[in-house]
């Protein structure tokens, strides 16, 4: 049975996407503060930050940076819309990567040591998480026989029941994308200040913040696709939302109990754990299918 989300729902979701990301970020800051014995900022704090930034005067060093920031947000917006309309996961993945390339180019386009190192680290991060991300997309494709998101809704059992291990690997991707320790290396506040964002100011910094909201929505969205309950739209929405929040909560806990690692440790960990888990899981699925088919 094929579940097709209605057009209206998709449109509403794509408009709400950044705000969902913003709210999640607001809860993140609040929960992190509570875990650190603090009161923490209001839930809408990320919103205030961004609105304030739009009201500031601009002190941009290079015009190219502005272009890259716009392209970055643009690609993420496009991939969010694709995700909401049940588009192709592979295209979404490539769009996110292209966005990150624009972000990195923006970091490289200014003459600042910290920005430069931030750009480098952004590339290392991509080296670390892209193989996992891509293999996860492939393994989803292998199960659904298609890369389209709406095909996941047509499965008989939730994806998490078939391929749970890629979800664990995606946790690494998630930590990297959410700039959480131990993998918050590209925006390491106490090492390279804010890395690739260092030379942005005012409204363009706000654009990057909005891009981060999109990223939160996208990564949580893709990860919660594993929790689609086929044939039951209400339960699907509930389980996807619950799963997304649970994943985020786990990431906050990890953030609070670890220190930042080096980029090479990150690469080693992601290659050793992330890729192995996915390969093992896909192998198991095939062996089981082979035995079942042979019997």
């Amino acid at each position: 049975m094929n579940f097709q989300p209605s057009i209206l729902f998709s449109i509403l979701l794509s408009i709400a996407a950044p705000f969902i990301g913003m709210l999640i970020l607001g809860f993140d800051r609040k929960i992190t503060a509570r875990m650190q014995n603090r009161v923490g900022p209001p839930i809408l704090q990320p919103f205030y930050d961004v609105v304030k930034l739009f009201g500031k005067s601009e002190l941009m060093v290079k015009k190219a940076q502005i272009l890259f920031a716009l392209m970055f947000v643009g690609t993420l917006l496009l991939s969010t819309v694709l995700l909401c309309f049940g588009g192709d996961l592979l295209v979404i993945f490539f769009l996110i990567s292209t966005g990150m390339i624009f972000y990195t180019l923006g970091a490289y386009s200014v003459k600042s040591g910290f920005s430069f190192i931030g750009g480098n680290r952004e590339l290392y991060q991509m080296l670390a998480y892209e193989p996992i991300f891509m293999l996860t997309v492939f393994s989803v494709g292998l199960i659904t026989k298609s890369f389209r998101v709406d095909q996941i809704f047509g499965l008989e059992v939730p994806l998490v029941a078939i391929i749970p291990l890629p979800l664990v690997s995606m946790m690494i991707v998630f930590l990297i994308k959410m700039q959480k320790s131990p993998f918050d290396i590209s925006t390491a506040h106490t090492e390279i200040i804010s890395g690739p964002m260092i030379e942005y100011s005012g409204g363009y910094l706000a654009l990057l913040k909005i891009a981060h909201w999109y990223e939160i929505f996208l990564v949580i969205g893709i990860m919660s696709l594993f929790f689609v309950v086929p044939g039951n739209p209400v339960l699907t929405v509930v389980s996807m939302a619950a799963a997304g929040l649970a994943i985020y909560f786990v990431s906050i806990i990890i953030d609070n109990v670890t220190a930042r690692v080096h980029w090479n440790t990150m690469l080693r960990l992601s290659a050793a754990i992330g890729i192995t888990l996915i390969v093992v899981n896909v192998a198991i699925v095939y062996i089981v299918a082979y035995i079942a088919g042979g019997a």
Binding site: Q36, R38, A188, T190, E191, A259, R260, V261
Partner: protein
């Protein structure tokens, strides 16, 4: 292979103070580190010559806002020896208590800053939360959180009541139990990953470069001025904390153990606290030269004081522990490290730049 130059500081979030390191990096590897200081030089040594020696206590206190107790202790001890007087025993014990409280708050502060530098934010928050209790205890005794103004030439300015001593004992119990709560952080994988083998300073290099304090003690050099028995330290039982790790983790471990040692020293002081006067008044002229050394939280604090018999001092020279530790830090940095390790290495010697430049 991309070469670039990074100016680390003078304004950088990891250090509250301005020190500049000009780093030549290849990709992320530091190949050359050159320190630039002088951003907080005020000229306090000259001001010492201009002020009244009694007012100088407040100036000495403000050489460093993190360790006011050792600075004033070193200063008043120097002036006392010029005058040929000695503080009464009770005053010496109170000084010792203040010095040790200072060490506790400084080491906790450092532990938190290290956590902040390696992105372990919750650790930073927890340690600084516990530190506030120590500051409260200091405030109860002296009237201020940061600058104590306890020392006077010939003794101390305020006595401690029995209630204050009991309260201090309770605070020590609280601090000890709360430190035990977070002691497991030493076993944390990511902390070990970021500190072990980072910023290596061998014993030989530490001797050659003149390292002092926990930096030297982490390299296996048993160098603790408290063993010379100034103030009340002669009556107290303790052993200098020495480890042989020679890296940032070793410096972490030394400070962690010194925290417990300081708590123990304060307890000993409370038990052995003598009664009597707290101030020896004297109008002796200040004549001659004196060297006064005190073990500050960061290491050996050195005061050279010269008087010429007049109302004012002729020369006061201050050599602070961080000044001695900068050259070892350059040695550690020049061995090649990652950009990410620069803040860990520099923090591992617990820099206090405003002391250094005076």
């Amino acid at each position: 292979m991309v070469k670039s130059t990074i100016t680390f500081g003078p304004q950088h979030p990891v250090f509250p103070e301005p020190i500049q390191f000009i780093l030549k990096v290849v990709d992320e590897k530091v190949v050359l580190a050159e320190p630039q200081i002088g951003y907080v030089h005020r000229g306090i040594e000259k001001a010492f010559e201009l002020n009244d020696p009694k007012d100088n206590i407040f100036l000495a206190e403000r050489i460093c806002g993190i360790c006011p107790a050792p600075h004033t202790t070193a200063y008043v001890r120097g002036v006392e020896s010029l005058m040929g007087i000695e503080a009464p025993p009770r005053a010496k014990y109170i000084r010792t208590i203040m010095n040790e409280l200072n060490r506790i708050h400084s080491h906790i502060l450092w532990a938190g800053l290290l956590g902040d530098a390696i992105g372990f934010e919750s650790y930073f928050m927890q340690t600084w939360n516990y530190r506030e209790k120590v500051l409260d205890a200091i405030e109860k005794i002296s009237g201020h959180r940061v600058t104590y103004a306890m020392n006077a030439i010939g003794g101390v300015r305020r006595d401690m009541t029995n209630e204050q001593l009991r309260g201090l004992e309770k605070t020590m119990d609280y601090v000890e139990s709360s430190l035990e709560n977070i002691e497991d952080v030493m076993k944390d994988y990511t902390i070990k990953k970021r500190t072990q083998g980072i910023g290596i300073l061998t014993e030989e290099e530490a001797r050659r470069d003149g390292a002092v304090g926990p930096t030297a003690r982490a390299s296996g050099i048993s160098q603790d001025l408290r063993t010379s028995g100034y103030d009340a330290y002669g009556d107290l039982k303790f052993e200098p904390v020495v480890v042989n790790n020679c890296d940032s983790y070793g410096r972490f471990a030394v400070r962690w153990q010194e925290l417990k040692q300081s708590i123990d020293l304060i307890r000993q002081c409370i038990v052995k606290m003598p009664s009597g006067e707290i101030l020896t008044k004297s109008n002796n002229p200040m004549n001659g030269e004196a060297i006064s050394r005190v073990e500050a939280p960061r290491g050996e604090l050195f005061y050279y004081i010269k008087g010429n018999g007049s109302k004012k001092l002729e020369r006061v020279k201050v050599r602070t522990p961080t000044f001695a530790n900068i050259i070892p830090t350059v040695t550690m940095l020049s061995k090649g490290c990652q950009v990410a390790d620069v803040s860990v290495i520099v923090l591992s010697m617990d820099p206090c730049i405003s002391c250094t430049e005076r």
